[in-house]
Every structure is written in structure tokens, then in C-alpha cells.
Amino acid sequence: MEPSSSLPTDQTTPRRKILAVLGAVGIGAIISLTPLLAGLSFFLDPLLRRRAGFKGGDAEGFLAVTQLSDLPDDGTPLRFVLRANKIDAWNEFKDQSIGTVYLRKMPGNQIIAFNDTCPHLGCKVDYQEASRTFLCPCHASAFQLDGEPMNKIPPRKLDTLESKTDPDGKVWVKYQDFQCGVEKKGAVG
């Protein structure tokens, strides 16, 4: 088939024609890419901007959870709801649940805080009283009380969270979500 660019017209010299083709292609690219690239940059907003998921807590981002005295001395984990002002795009919802954690009181009043999200694929693990283990209802990931995995399903141990106890005996936790499904523990966002 005859390539279109070689079709002769009376007024067109080859040189002029090449310039016209280059011009049409070049300008065509600019005018189609401009709205497309603007739109794509806008679409990439979640990657271009860091946003907090909640507002509240102390200067370092710790949220008050409970009193040390409310935790059992034998290290049995208890689940707590963390409350703060939840930020969802334009909305700020006052005093909402922003996540749940398991707290254990260890000897010497040390606190272990677990994010109760399974590091496998993000379901919530449940503490099983009978076996004293954490079990995930989705794919049967199982963890010991110290968070170590008991089978090959989860890629890593349960994610621990930073915690602290203030002089009044109040326990604070710094809540974070972590990337699921990978061996290395890394905060989301």
C-alpha cells in the first residue's frame, strides 16, 4: 500500500510537507498529552501526598488507651479500641475508632502492644483463650503470645506498636498500619 505521506498535491514541495507532518505530529502530541498528563498527575495524588489518617494524641502521636492497672498481670492479651478524630479525605469525624490493638502487661510493667491486623492479608487476628494463641480467621495464620508465627502462612510475626506508660499509669500507643504480605515490617504511607 502506498504510504500516505507520499501522496502528491499540487502546491506541496516535499520539504514543506515534511515540516507540516512534523508540525502536525508535534503539536498533536502536545495538545493530547497536556490534558492527559494533568489528569494522570491528579490521579497520582495518593502517591504524591502524605496524609494523616487521624488527628489527636500527644505531641509524638501516641494515643491514650487504658490504665496499666486494667491489664491482667499474667500477660493475657486484651483488645482495645483506639479513638481519635478520623480523617477521611475532606471529612473529619470526631472521636471515632481508628484501629484496635492487643495489649499485654509483662513482668516489670513492660507493655507489649500488637497491631491486631494479620501481617498475611489484613484480617483481624483473635486471641484464643484455650490455646493461648492468636488465630487469624481468614487463612488460619497462628501466632504465639509473643507474636512469633506458629505456621508458614504469615510472612512475619505480629506487628508490634510503640507504647509508653506515663507517671499516672496510663498506657499510650502509637498506632500505625503496616504493609501486609511481605516479610519486612514497614509502615503504610
Binding site: T9, T12, A24, I31, L36, A38, S41, F42, W90, N91
Partner: protein, 631 residues
């Protein structure tokens, strides 16, 4: 590579298609005047692209539409750019539509055998108008809300089926969630799909008959679509895109305050390209003939004539008529638009309303950024904001007597209608009570102490009882004492007295107060001794005063008619005063002129009004720096 393309061509025949698309011959060669159709297709493509991305961030409901658009515009990366392009491209489309239409009429491209394509073009025009109308509502801001209400109300006067049509469009008897979901479905789904279909037909039929070439051009050598015409089209599209980007960067897409059905919007106007219709409907003669006539029959008749143009064009003078009709329409629309713009330009109160609407949009965005938007929507932020509600309450309840820096609180001059030589004209209504723009400030107190008759000058318009204030004891006291107070030696004494009084109200924007000046002022209030001379009588002889800092009471006052200065001009004082100025700790029943507002204002309204008067509301640094507050 070639093999693969050949394989594809064998299965699809694409080469033939591309060849046909690009090598369409153009008798007489490529021309700039042929670009308008291509620019329209280009802008439509821009709208589809930007529209799809905006769709990914827009949320159609009365509690989230404005909010999500605010978020797109002010928070998300490049949101201002994508929304700006979409906003201004929509307006560019209206202009290009006009140019394309003119070109078709002038060239006679509507005549046989191109009638069907002309009608397809008219259908496309209606779809574009529909897209403009539906898109205008989606941000759910005051401007779009009230402009669209006019449109749906016009639909409502359609004979026979008006109310039913209107309710179908609105998704109910009034505006709500379903108005937005329906408009959005039309705007992003149904109308674009129709547009694509009709555009394909339009281009197909256009290709069938080819470009309409004028007689003078027919003699010239032929060209092809590719690359000559494509280059011209591309350059024209680039010009259009550059214009759109220019406006996006220079002006930006507007977002006025969130839609509020309970709040009159005095800046209501349609978008500029419908301004001529708006102005047309405002003519008294048109109004008398009824809305159906002006808003439906006349535009319908004009569209009817346009649709009949292919037939009209068959007569000898038909083409001339069509061209003349088109230019007459254009001239008429331009003329009406010019009148509308001129009238609005001369209308100070309209200008103030536009400014207020813009300010409300900025304010809502500023509050949303600072506090986050509650689940009840951004409107509730404005409803709780003294900066927005205070001026409105002032205008409604106070401005029939008072002014605020010369206006009614909303920057509008208070007008009244009078008859002069048998003609009704609007004149400024004189105030009958003090201008409260500076109320409670150091300037206000200084002026009151040294120039009482000026501060309360408007009371002379309040009749006999007003005069009583201007000749009363306080007026006399100021007359006697102001020369002493204004002596240069007494500058610090006056400052002290003013500081002491200003500190009683504790107004936030006056802080910090100077303790040394306050202490000096307290002594003068009680003892009347100035640096040079003494006051003829002490403040505490007449006025009650329990200083706000808890120091001992300076006096219990002389009873009704001698307002207490305990907490003067502070929140509690103002609230008590506004509730009942005739109370015995203020003017007393005998002298008071001001109506009590205890029953007229709710506690919430009172608090909003007073917080505004006291300047007690959230301020972001960049917006209200540099005395913006006085706007």
C-alpha cells in the same frame, strides 16, 4: 514490525481506514476557516479526559458534592489544574460552538445535500447546552445552585407537563441528593454517550459530502486532510488549549460557598453565555407576556427557524435571510449581554453580593482546611461561623438604624425608595443610630469621650428622643471636658482612661492591654484628676463600675439612664444590652430608643452576632492580614 502490521491489516483493514481518514481530498486546499469543527472535537476530548479523572474524586450528594470539589480544588495535587481545564474548556466549547455555527451558515454548509448533517449539528448543540447546564450544578455551590434552580423552574412552566418534567429532573419536588445523582448521571453518562454517538454520525455524514468550498476557492489546487489541514487544526487547538490554560492559571475555577436553600443569593446570575437570555427575561414587556413566552416560546421559535434554515435557504433570498438572521441573533445576544454587564457593573449592591459570595467560598475553604469538614457538611461550618453569620444578622436586625463602617454589615449601602417629581428613585437611607464598625475599640471610646456629638450624630435623624441623647448629660459632659482631655499635656491621661475602659470588655483583638495605663485610667475614672486639671465630674459619679480585674468597685451608678460600665463593650455587656437596652442598668425605659432583641434573636444568633462584633472568630493569617477585616 511490517509483518505484524500486515497481519493486523489483514484482520481489520485498518490501513484502508487510516488512508481514508487522512487522505480525504480538500478541494481548494487546507483553510484556517475549516478548523472550528476540529477544535470542538478536541475540546470534547479534553472534557472526556479531565472529566473521567474528576469523576474519580467527585461525590454526588448534598453533603459531599461541595466538599469533594473543595478537596479537588484546594487539597489534591493538580486538582486545581484538572478542574480548571474542565471548567474553562466548557466555556471555550460554547464560543467554538458559536464560531462553528457561524462558519456553517456563512459558507452555506447547511444547504442540500447537507441538511441532515446540519440537524445533527443542532442536536449536538443541544447536548453541549445540556452538558453545560448539568455540569454547572455539580459543585453544589451557591452560584451553581441558584442558576440551575432558575433553569429547572423554567422547565416547570412548560405547558401541560411542566411540573412532572421538573420533578423528574430534580428527582423530587425539591433539590436534594437525587438532583445531584440525576444531574451527574446525565452529565457524566447519558449526555456524553449521546454526544459520542451523534458526533460519530456528524463526522460520518460530513465525510460523505465533504467540505463546502466557496466558489472563489474552487479554482485553487486541491489539498489533502493530512498533513496540511491537520496542521492547521492542531495549531488552532493549541491556541484553544493555551487560552484554557491561561484562564486556569490566571483566574482558576471558582467555587462559591456551599449551596444553602435557606439563604438568599443576591449575586445569582447564569453563566455569562446565558446572560443574554437572563436579561431578555427581565424586560418588563417580556415579563408581562409570561415566563412561558420568554423562556420557552421565543427560544423555541428561534431554534425552529434555525432548524428550517435548509429549506429557507432554497429560496432566492433565503441564504441572505439565514445569514442576516444569524448575525441579528449574535448582535441581539451581544447587546443584551452588554446591557446586563453594564447594569451589574453600576449596581454597587450587586457587586457587594458577588464579593460576599466569593468571600464565603474562600471562608468555607479556609474553615474546612483548619477544622476538617464535619459529617453534616461544609455548610454547617459556615452556619457556626461568626465571621459569616454576624454581618448577615447585623444587616437583618441592626442595619435599619445602625451602620457598620457606613454599610449594612454586608458592605451594601442601605437604600430606600422615595418619590421625587412623581418618579420613584432609590436614595441612601440615613442612619438613625451610631455606626458600630469600631464599637468597643480604643478609637470608639476616645471618640465617645472627646467627640460625643460626632459619634452619635445619626441620632439627630431619630426624632425628638434622639435629640435628647445629643443634648443629654453625657453630651454636656463631653462638651465641657473634651477641651481639657484633648490638651497635649493630658494625652497620657486620656490614653489611660481609654485603656481602662477598653480593658473592661477584654476584646481579643485589642489585647494586650497596658497595665500601667489601666491603673492610671482607674484613678481618673474614680477621681477625675488629670495630668493637667480635673474633670467636671467623675465617671464613677454616674456609671456603675466593678473592674474586670477584680479590684474594688468604683461605684454603683446613678440608676436607669446611666449605663453600667462594668464589663463595658464585652461579650456579657453587649449581650445584656442587646437583649434589653431599656433595662435599668442601661438606658432605662424612659430614655431608651432601641428595641429589645431578647425575643427576636435566639441565644445562638446573639452569640454569633456579638462574636463577630468583638472580632472573636477564627482567622487564618494569609487571608485577613493587612486589615482585610474591614474589607
Amino acid at each position: 514490525m511490517n509483518g505484524m502490521l500486515n497481519w493486523l491489516d489483514d484482520r481489520t483493514g485498518y490501513k484502508n481506514l487510516v488512508h481514508e481518514a487522512l487522505n480525504e481530498p480538500i478541494p481548494g486546499g487546507a483553510k484556517w476557516k475549516y478548523v472550528w469543527g476540529s477544535t470542538l472535537s478536541f475540546v470534547f476530548m479534553v472534557q472526556v479526559i479531565t472529566g473521567f479523572f474528576l469523576w474519580g474524586a467527585y461525590s454526588p450528594s448534598t453533603l459531599t458534592a461541595w466538599e469533594s470539589v473543595y478537596y479537588i480544588q484546594n487539597v489534591m495535587s493538580y486538582g486545581w489544574l484538572v478542574r480548571g481545564i474542565h471548567h474553562f474548556a466548557a466555556q471555550a466549547m460554547m464560543i467554538l460552538l458559536g464560531l462553528h455555527f457561524m462558519q456553517v451558515i456563512i459558507a452555506g454548509a447547511y444547504k442540500a445535500p447537507r441538511e441532515v448533517n446540519f440537524w445533527l449539528g443542532l442536536v449536538l448543540m443541544q447536548i453541549v447546552l445540556g452538558l453545560s447546564l448539568t455540569g454547572y450544578l455539580l459543585p453544589w455551590d451557591q452560584k451553581g445552585y441558584y442558576a440551575t434552580k432558575v433553569a429547572t423552574n423554567i422547565v416547570g412552566v412548560t405547558p401541560m407537563i411542566g411540573p412532572q418534567l421538573q420533578q423528574l429532573a430534580q428527582g423530587g419536588t425539591s433539590y436534594g441528593h437525587h438532583t445531584l445523582t440525576r444531574f451527574f448521571a446525565l452529565h457524566a453518562g447519558i449526555l456524553p454517550a449521546l454526544m459520542v454517538g451523534f458526533l460519530a454520525l456528524h463526522i460520518y455524514v460530513f465525510r460523505r459530502h465533504g467540505i463546502t468550498v466557496s466558489k472563489s476557492d474552487q479554482a485553487k489546487p486541491a489539498g489533502t486532510f493530512w498533513p496540511d489541514q491537520v496542521l492547521m487544526d492542531a495549531v488552532a487547538c493549541l491556541g484553544v488549549l493555551a487560552t484554557i490554560l491561561f484562564f486556569t492559571v490566571w483566574k482558576g475555577a471558582e467555587l462559591t460557598g456551599p449551596a444553602d436553600a435557606s439563604e438568599a443569593y443576591s449575586a445569582a446570575r447564569p453563566e455569562w453565555y446565558f446572560l443574554f437570555l437572563f436579561r431578555f427575561l427581565k424586560f418588563e414587556e417580556v415579563d408581562k407576556l409570561g415566563l412561558v413566552f420568554g423562556a420557552l416560546y421565543v427560544p423555541g421559535a428561534i431554534m425552529g427557524v434555525i432548524a428550517l434554515m435548509p429549506f429557507i435557504g432554497k429560496w432566492k433570498l433565503g441564504h441572505g435571510f439565514n445569514v442576516a438572521f444569524t448575525f441579528a441573533l449574535l448582535a441581539g445576544a451581544t447587546f443584551l449581554t452588554a446591557i446586563a454587564l453594564k447594569e451589574d457593573g453600576a449596581d454597587k449592591n450587586y457587586q457587594a453580593a458577588v464579593k460576599a459570595a466569593e468571600f464565603e467560598g474562600h471562608r468555607a475553604a479556609e474553615l474546612a482546611k483548619e477544622f476538617g469538614i464535619p459529617p453534616t457538611g461544609a455548610l454547617s461550618l459556615l452556619k457556626e461561623d461568626p465571621r459569616i453569620q454576624g454581618p448577615k444578622l447585623f444587616a437583618r436586625h441592626c442595619s435599619s438604624c445602625h451602620r457598620h463602617n457606613g454599610h449594612n454589615g454586608l458592605e451594601q449601602i442601605v437604600m430606600k425608595e422615595i418619590e421625587e417629581n412623581g418618579q420613584k428613585i432609590q436614595v441612601e437611607e440615613p442612619a438613625t443610630a451610631a455606626d458600630l464598625g469600631e464599637f468597643g475599640s480604643r478609637e470608639w471610646i476616645t471618640s465617645l469621650l472627646t467627640n460625643y456629638s460626632q459619634t452619635f450624630a445619626p441620632l439627630k435623624n431619630a426624632g425628638e428622643n434622639g435629640e435628647k441623647f445629643l443634648t443629654g448629660e453625657m453630651a454636656e459632659w463631653v462638651k465641657e471636658n473634651s477641651p481639657t482631655l484633648l490638651q497635649p499635656e493630658n494625652a497620657d491621661s486620656l490614653k489611660g482612661l481609654v485603656e481602662f475602659l477598653a480593658a473592661q470588655g477584654g476584646r481579643r483583638e485589642l489585647q494586650p492591654f497596658d497595665p500601667a495605663l489601666i491603673a492610671a485610667g482607674r484613678e481618673i475614672f474614680k477621681g477625675g484628676k488629670l495630668a493637667q486639671g480635673t474633670l467636671t465630674s467623675n465617671c464613677s459619679d454616674c456609671h456603675a463600675m466593678k473592674p474586670v480585674d477584680g479590684t474594688e468597685s468604683l461605684g454603683d451608678g446613678a440608676g436607669p439612664g446611666y449605663p453600667t460600665l462594668t464589663g463595658y463593650a464585652g461579650k456579657q455587656w453587649l449581650q445584656d444590652f442587646v437583649k434589653n437596652p431599656a433595662h435599668e442598668s442601661f438606658y432605662g425605659a424612659d430614655r431608651n430608643l432601641m428595641p429589645p432583641f431578647e425575643a427576636k434573636l435566639s441565644q445562638k444568633e446573639l452569640t454569633l452576632l456579638i462574636d463577630w462584633m468583638m472580632g472573636d472568630y477564627f482567622r487564618s493569617n494569609h487571608v485577613e492580614a493587612g486589615g482585610e477585616r474591614k474589607e
